[in-house]
Assembly symmetry: D2
Homo-oligomer: 360 residues x 4
């Protein structure tokens, strides 16, 4: 699983390196053989060493810069609405923009006021953005370098796990009714001090949150609907279950990992063989998606860019259950960002992401 | 360390006190003002102090006895199939039998080979057993003392949480389609050494398990179907979603607690007012079920016999989401057993169970 | 949900009920048969239901009051320096004051600027205060009701565990050199939002903190020195190890519990028999201290007011190791406060604290 | 932190790959640019895929072999006493032996019956073995390839952390009295099913264990004594505190990581400047030991081969506190083994170990 690419060096800047996703991005890029970190930027943190935010990275000697970095690629890991405002400046300097936040994920500008409560300030740039899930949009991502601007809206953590888990079913028009019941570790909630995220509150407890209103719902619906349209066998109407996804996230007492349990009432009876074929074909050549025979745990992908997907028909009820797991900070954020960089810049897709998961 | 209120004393024996549910039962009964622990019994553990199994109870000075205790009430907390074999002996001595295991939960004898892979050895006793969920069967439980034998099949942990969460909807005939996605702490898996339950395996991980085959599914279906039949507005057909429940349990990294997320497609459009009324009426007088306005966490009931239930209609999709939480070892096992004892023996139902949850 | 035994009723007010210790105090007092909660008070929280801070207590229906409660006893659970300023008002109304904070623990006023960085505003009240560890000062506490004012400075969590673990050795003049290496769950750090207490930071990590400067050091030294002076065999000089305690606390990834490992170089060779006798005699009649033969874990006392103590001489090195465990929020805070109330008001000392620990 | 070494390939076999340390070793070697995995061996596991033991490594396609692998280097990760019996066979084939277990750590054969309760079967091989802590014995390890047999006894997890934390003090003859109070995650206890290592037992609890008898004590004493003898300023007598180390390990509720708190009474007054100089000089050129200014947490080294060390004199008491952290499965086991391989085979020492720690 190890590649060595001699050759070109890509300069990279990061805006917003002090959060959890930003820290993971720095860590991964420090080990990327073709990347030179050109600069880190965070408002009001000039000259602060990275170790002030990320003690584990103190050995890197990195320091937050005064200015937005000039670089071939700029990654933004910022609260929603901020990257959208900076994007024009970034792409004007010729940098490719990889937004880890949500500002370039949704194609319909109206989705921003609806789900995120802000008007998108650059709808024209939004129109140029590609949804950066390589397993679905690899060709578009590669083509992005030829457009007027290169803007990649990187998927959210829940959508990454859920879309990869359901895409083969959606493409085949098999989703009549859909419940997505997901479980996430606390790092997905970020790093700002909040009383409800204190150890003593999260530990030995589980709760659902963001009922009926989690913003990632919009992404899931956008992408799953589109898969239905693309599928050779199906139209959007064939997947009524993805028109409005019943998505419920839960906070569980762990730091990393997302497991998404997708309960599907199929549009017609299906066999296990049919499911096996659909998934095997979908993911046979994907370096970061494994279709597995045993139900996966999040620990099986911890610390890696891997997504494991499992799918079974219930012989008793005829319903279909599909389960996916990722490390929310890697395949759900920083690792996916590196994967996207590799795709866009024509590097082997696994470069810098070769590590196996770490267990236990 | 026990205080006594006035009134009668019930002698109680416990068979299988060395597991987690058994330990909690001992703890609760030691503080029960009307109970005298007449004896503990565990095979091959004669004369072993309870502290060998439960160091936290060393102060009680209790010791495992050589023989099955003679007592007004006998609790069994045993692997499936064992209590069924002992039941005839126990009731023959005049003891009321409260089985914390599954041997007297399912009314149809055919469900035992189907779900538990054993033939029930005493179908005639099974026919006399009452499903011991007081919130649903309080009158039957009280009447059990007048029958030939008093046998209470105490509900499983997942069914307790799930049935209480869904009963008002089932009774109203509102469940067209149902997904029950539940999350449990590791104590529910018991205390036998197993590699997959080691701390290092469970910590920082989540997984689904027992796909399509969890034995508690049978209880949920039995009871939810029956609620539908009972409902003033509904027949069994009115709740097609409970005919075969899509139940998926997950193991999450905590010791105690169950949260059950019940995703319901209703049989007809419902309003929040209607739901509020259904639940408020169902649980207004219940000492151990709270219908709450904010989504509950398991920590809110930790260490108590309380069940908290929350129910909302999604204004966007029209689907109904109902969530319930319990402490799996108390309301899901030992506390429920004490509650049942109180009901059957005519004590105030909260006796010995008055403690508030412990937080954080 | 409270049972009543016969006898007198004590009215109790709580100032600062919204933190973790305050919540536990409310919980315990709600179940105390001789206590009537006369009022809760928190600045700027008038009319706020207790459930806003403590969802698990929503069933109590309690509401924060506008004014400091009039009551037989007032408990303060406040940041340091605040109770000291309120004390004169509270005792002027005739209330006995039980301070869960540190404002009345240290006898030497100079210790407040030294360790807590504030000048004590009421040194005359401080002189009247009793250090409220019943196992050491029961008679003084009882006598406090006869003084001009009744002020109990309740011990800190680390000192409670450590002093109880070491008192028999100190009294016997056996401590030549002392290292106290303690481990605490995160609830001891309180409930204010702090980035370093987020679940994602505390989980899967351990660190030492407050090196050389933890404020509880002062209490340990005060009390252990005093034990040495009291001992029949010893003077203060006989325990040089308690003159300046080498105390190091650690934050470990759990919510509740303190384990204190006390490494002692004895002043002279000791035998295990001698140690067994010392501890057995010290704690034979104590309802809340158990001298145990097997090394204890914090789980063995979780949810109870119990302290377990273990002490052994190392046959190889001749050194003595003493280990103590408590639930930091109960014996280390709220439970101890209730125990002190019982002592001061002449109730049986275990009233309202009878529950066994909860496990697992 | 990334090196690329073109060139030679070392064939490696692993005996005992199915435990936690073995799994980490496989993971690290799969990404090592100069290593070819020649074979895995485990008794009675012929043809079993590695995924049966390590689902996270399923992508590697590795399978357990029938026979002990022929290879340039053979790693053994086995219960004590087993590698000692296999060693003669392994080295007879010309393989260098790297034992992750304890069978070649202690130089005095009498220490094996004393601490491990077995007679060492190959004292002549033991005499050839080098204690494989590169920071102390790098030259000896390099020279091992020229001896009759190459046998590296890799250090235990607690000794690695503790020796690195104390070596500068020992070398300077500064340790008059020593308490080593260490905290470990549960992965250090291995993977065999044990009731006391179940999640429900370890979670929300802390306990000390192996009082006065932990086998790693022998290693610490051996190495710290030797450091004292080596030091320019000191003889063994100058460090009376290391003659018999007061070592106490604790199990805390986390999976990975060791923090060792070393409480030292110095042989003479020391200044912080002196300590800073000692440590800075000791570790200036070490790639895997960082002398840090802020007290470290285990999370700061999680997933890496790094050891962080902190040392301070207490201005109040004059005592010295030194704290070290490692990932017990990496620097404490598998990573150290890879580092040793690099040293012995003349590769850059960081090869395959370049990754930064993973946080949070």
């Amino acid at each position: 699983m190890r590649s060595r690419s001699g050759g070109r060096t890509i300069t990279v800047g990061i805006i917003g390196a002090t959060g959890y996703a930003g820290g993971e991005l720095v860590r991964l890029l420090l080990n990327h053989p073709n990347v030179k970190l050109a600069g880190l930027y965070g408002r009001n943190r000039d000259h602060q060493p990275i170790a002030a935010s990320h003690p584990h990275l103190s050995g890197s000697g990195l320091v937050i810069d005064q200015a937005i970095p000039e670089a071939d690629a700029v990654f933004t890991a910022l609260p929603h609405g901020i990257a959208a405002g900076m994007a024009a400046d970034i792409v004007a300097r010729g940098s490719a923009l990889f937004d880890i936040g949500p500002d370039f994920r949704l194609h319909d500008p109206a989705d921003y006021p609806r789900w995120y409560k802000f008007e998108h300030p650059s709808p024209e740039l939004l129109a140029q953005a590609v949804y950066g899930l390589p397993e679905l949009h690899r060709d578009q991502m590669r083509a992005a370098v030829d457009g007027p601007n290169t803007i990649i809206g990187l998927p959210g953590c829940y959508p990454t796990a859920t879309i990869l888990t359901l895409a083969p079913l959606a493409r085949a028009g098999l989703i009549a009714d859909l419940v997505v019941d997901a479980k996430s570790g606390a790092s997905g909630a970020g790093r700002e001090p909040r009383a409800d995220l204190l150890f003593s509150e999260v530990n030995e407890s589980v709760k659902a949150y963001a009922m009926f209103s989690h913003r990632h719902t919009a992404e899931m619906e956008q992408e799953l609907q589109q898969q239905g349209e693309r599928g050779p066998l199906a139209s959007r109407e064939a997947n009524p279950g993805v028109a409005m996804v019943d998505f419920l996230p839960h906070l569980i007492p762990m730091t990393r990992g997302i497991l998404t349990s997708c309960h599907v009432r199929p549009t017609r009876p299906v066999t296990q063989d049919e499911l096996d074929t659909l998934y095997a074909e979908a993911y046979r050549d994907e370096p970061f998606v494994q279709f597995v025979a045993d139900p996966p745990s999040t620990k099986q992908v911890l610390g890696s860019n891997m997504c494991r997907v499992w799918c079974r028909v219930d012989p008793r009820t005829g319903r279909v259950l599909a389960i996916g797991v990722i490390d929310n900070l890697i395949k759900g954020a920083a690792g996916q960002a590196v994967q996207a960089l590799n795709v866009v810049f024509g590097l082997p897709e696994t470069t810098g992401l070769e590590g196996y998961p770490i267990a236990p």
